[in-house]
Amino acid sequence: MAYLRRLLPLLLLVVVTACQHSPTRTTVRIAAASDLRFALQDLTAQVTKAHPDLRLQVTYGSSGTFRTQLENGAPFDLFLSADIAYPEELAAKGLAARDDVFSYAVGRLVVWTGRGSPVDPKAGLSALTDPRVRKVSIADPATAPYGRAAVAALETEHLYDTLRPKLVTAESVAQAAEFVTSGNADAGLVAESLVLGGPLRGVGRWSAVPLSDYPRLVQGGVVMAKGRTAAAREVRDVMLSAAGRALLANYGFSG
């Protein structure tokens, strides 16, 4: 009997878990830009609190690849892109309604020096001219929005030609940050969301590049017409609510 009583909580737990996985829950399949990972983990909790019937299944990757995949019928209900141009393209091709394209944040570029770097990035981009900074990582301007922003900002401040020999190009902005953490670059031009959220929070020092230095990086998403549109819109609404926006701002995604 005592044995049974000890087992009871365990049994209850099994029953409760089983109930949680009842088939009444709708899974919303989300394709999200990699830099959203930490923010979305937090946001998921908010969504499931507001809508206990929803379950989020997120795949992270490069926005450009997602665009190609969605054009070819990838099974995603919601696409959260690093660049609003891709959702707009999908809407233009009739894969989503125009009204379902939305913007959730404006991306911000920061100058970041890694752990233990003697260089203070407070001076902004000009701090990179310090001879102790030998390599500066940026994302590939050909494919990554943050790479284009980095080049544009350097050009605005007339530093591009001076700094060009120091620039090393990474495949994505996350890899540009990786170059700095691994010591392969002394500084990087990366997304604010990377140094505010996740494992890089509090590592090294950073300062924001003035927003006027580069074209606005409008980050946008879209509800795909062929998916579970009602559920996807509910997720979008949580994301764009006051509480959702406050959460996103904590991770460097503010409007």
Binding site: Y60, Q69, N72, G73, A74, A174, E178
Partner: protein, 219 residues
């Protein structure tokens, strides 16, 4: 991990018969355009995986005739599913099945084939009864290389599969995923498992190869 193993096993089982027939035909045919077929078989070696993946994606996707026909028949998409991955893997690993078999067929004693033909066996029966037993080592190489190559497949899977957890997220894609989120510990763990697995597979390959050559000397 299970998904990778399943994909690799299915690819190997399906690709071996295809590879054997293709290599057999290539090794015997006198047609001039056979070299073009050979070049096509070797193409996945040269093409960057993402390029191959892009072509497969576009030809299987919902906009292509094939993708649409499949959707009408089954109600599900071919791309972004296990079956889509399987088709991509078959193409991607084709040279790894055909090349060792071609080498084995070229290296065997032609008189065995001629003797079998003189004794009235059909070409297919010769292939099954004479050639394959002699070329066991080549067959083993083809199988293991196909299996291992499919496990390590990355660019194609990411493009065609879409990195969907539980459905198309293979080991190599999950490593990429961990690196993307700066989760070095998880990336290192998975990489180590993959490394150990690859080492075991390759050791088996070379062990089989040695046994194979010993077997040939017995003859």
């Amino acid at each position: 991990m299970w998904l990778s193993a399943r994909l690799s096993a299915a690819t190997t089982v399906l690709l071996l018969p295809i590879g054997v027939l293709l290599a057999w035909w290539l090794s015997r045919t006198r047609r001039r355009w056979a070299v073009v077929v050979e070049a096509f078989v070797a193409l996945p070696l040269v093409l960057p995986p993402t390029v191959l993946g892009y072509y497969v994606l576009v030809s299987l996707g919902s906009r292509s005739p094939l993708g649409r026909a499949w959707q009408d028949l089954t109600g599900s998409t071919l791309a972004f599913s296990f079956k889509g991955l399987l088709i991509a893997s078959l193409l991607y690993s084709l040279p790894f099945a055909v090349q060792p078999l071609l080498a084995a067929f070229a290296g065997m004693d032609r008189r065995l084939v001629e003797a079998s033909a003189v004794l009235g066996r059909s070409p297919l029966s010769t292939l099954w009864r004479v050639v394959l037993p002699v070329c066991k080592a080549g067959l083993a190489s083809a199988a293991v290389l196909t299996f291992a190559h499919t496990v390590g497949e990355f660019g194609v899977v990411l493009m065609v599969g879409g990195n969907i957890p539980g459905r198309t997220r293979t080991v190599s894609v999950s490593i990429y995923d961990s690196v993307q989120v700066l989760d070095d510990a998880a990336a290192a763990r998975t990489s180590l498992a993959l490394l150990a697995f690859s080492l075991v597979v390759l050791t088996t390959l070379y062990a089989l190869r040695r046994n194979g050559s010993a077997f040939r000397m017995d003859l």
